[in-house]
Assembly symmetry: C2
Homo-oligomer: 447 residues x 2
Amino acid sequence: MTGKVVILGAGAVGMTVATYLKRHTKHEVTVFSSDNNTAYSQCGLPFVLEGVVHDFSDLVIRPPDTFVDMGIDLHLGTTVNHIDTGCQKVISDAGVFEYDYLVIATGSMPFVPPLKGRELDGVFTLHTLSDGIAIDRSMKDSSSVVIIGAGGIGAEVAGSLALRGIAVTLVEAIPQVLPLTLDPDMALLVQQHLTSLGVNVRTGVQVDSINGLNHVQSVSVGKELVPADVVIVATGLRPLSGIARDAGFDIGPAGGIVTNEHLRVSLAGEFQDNVYAGGECAEVIDFITDSPFISRLGSAARRMARVIGENITEQDAVYPPTLSPNVVVVGNLVAGSVGITSQRAKDSDMSIVYGISEGLTRAGYYPGGSQLNVKLIFAGLQLVGAQVVAGEGVKERIDALSLAIRMGATVHDLLEWETSYSPPVSMVIDPVTFAAADAKTKMEKMA
Amino acid sequence: MTGKVVILGAGAVGMTVATYLKRHTKHEVTVFSSDNNTAYSQCGLPFVLEGVVHDFSDLVIRPPDTFVDMGIDLHLGTTVNHIDTGCQKVISDAGVFEYDYLVIATGSMPFVPPLKGRELDGVFTLHTLSDGIAIDRSMKDSSSVVIIGAGGIGAEVAGSLALRGIAVTLVEAIPQVLPLTLDPDMALLVQQHLTSLGVNVRTGVQVDSINGLNHVQSVSVGKELVPADVVIVATGLRPLSGIARDAGFDIGPAGGIVTNEHLRVSLAGEFQDNVYAGGECAEVIDFITDSPFISRLGSAARRMARVIGENITEQDAVYPPTLSPNVVVVGNLVAGSVGITSQRAKDSDMSIVYGISEGLTRAGYYPGGSQLNVKLIFAGLQLVGAQVVAGEGVKERIDALSLAIRMGATVHDLLEWETSYSPPVSMVIDPVTFAAADAKTKMEKMA
């Protein structure tokens, strides 16, 4: 199997596809990235800032040389200016490259709202390794940090900096933290934990401006002036789909490149056999709502890369509708979510019933455990969403509930679900069971 | 709803049924136990011996008084001599009691093989709170302990005592530890961990005798004489079903009381509407093999109690075939299992394919994680068994796989299963996925 494969983007999707092809085919593989690094663990950045991971270099999975040694033609720090779909060519700063297959994996970039003062020194986003290094450096002389946006990145960094002993204010325009992944009641647990770590959490309030002469000095939050020598703007990401749009590829409602179940890309409504997109620049289908959305997870990126690699090697692989279960580590608390939240159910005109429970991660008499809160969301009898907040055991429970949703579990299945028990690692009956029982009681009252 | 309910046994099943009835009905509830305690956490005994749980009293869920205050007629330290099914009466040391409903929840007792010297001072079983207290007391002057039997209790106690700094020899006749729940390759990980803690693990070798004059001095293990001043015999449990057998109730192949899906008991082949059995004296149906077995889990006991309580209150509850997922904590390692092992598949003439993987519980660069080993067992495409060994995240993965088996998950479902990721709590792709991929590769090679 031979051919020329050009990959735009050297992140998780790009490098996984490149590696897969080099292992399984004789394709010529060329990778472009405007960044100077190949794939690294973006998700690990907050924990280097915390100091628990010692060095940013720990996040680099493989040095670029190892990819070159595999025979990948790697162009870092190189801008691609245009895709010529007619001639199957990519025009870059490094020259013109023909392709038989094209993979668009350009990722995303932070969205920074048009705030007054956003150009001041000391104002950062946290998206790349270079961002992390710059923030870490400026943090050394910092006495107070303001983080704008309490999504996953904002909340994780707030927790990490608080554990490092830095004065942090976390500002969120929506009246809760983690608004995209948690219901308000579950988010409150995370907010209370941040407060207990000393973070000044301000939700439901707008940032009006960032103030200073050359360097930031304060942030105007509602009517208050919060002193700040470092500001981190974490108000979301936007897909880097411009180059695809300019080439005529279709862009969907979430701003990402439209893909089909094979992750092929459409040109003026027609899916192309030899052009793929994956990762944060591409739209995929939500398992619950059937609508297109952008999955931002490293795990999803790896799965998409695998599907693209298999399709280029003619294996007819499918990327199924996705649940994108997610988990964030905020200080000493872990918060996870899968499927839809109550708000998203409302937005989709879906009628829901929920069940909640509060338990422990270990037997009450066994030291070291934590509180464990579970919320399960049902549409009819069917599980459609789940949220878990605790000090431990969150990721695995979210994974279990991810499988439950995918396999069509009902409240009855969850009640019959047998869970295991040993005092150092659990309660006799898992709190998930009690949340299901709570939902069933509510369903019976409604019937 | 009124009537006289007599419950034999004050353990997890007995006290949960009693409490349920007192909360939901006006039944007169009488409970008998030859023990002097009501339900306590038997599973916690190894961890008091370890010293991580400080006192045996921590294991007592509620003092007996609280049950008396609820209006339960509680007869502790009282032997029941006979059940008269014709007259619906129980004859006990405390007198004769009539019943409208009878619940047999007499539990189990340790099986001690007929070893020479088993009656010596310093030889114990670990089944009751009193056993635990006696072992703890004798441990204070002990320099070396021999544990006979490396099932769940033997392995947990070996790990606990080793962490306490005591010299332990663990002897098992079968050539592996945890033979009922783990395959040899997974058991080896536990055995290596025990060895690393300083435990002298001797598998595949018989104990010939326990030696000493009044007090134990040594144990003959194969040709070796192992010094011992404390011996703990942990060679399994037997259902306490004698009183049921004597009353004419049917006993099954595993030595437990035969029950139907409502946990009703049969008298000469006819199921009785008003007599129930649950817990370690009763047989239930294995989800995979459809054959009767005895579930020894606290979690199963609680579920059975609930079904019995609901049936006595005429709710037509069913106890479905059971998987009994189990987890043990051996030193700093957790080992879990659900469904069938390779050996049990062989015994059932079931043809299987397995997949394995070795990963980590956290990102490689994040401190504090551990190795994570997964083994998945398939019959055809269907998941029928799973084993996980790691320092953390085992119980929740076993629970997820318990749900997967119950919902009929195939290898394809496990490959589509989306798992969540954050560096402090997981790898990008969960090792369970890699184990499923390994199984799929093996299936393809066989096809």
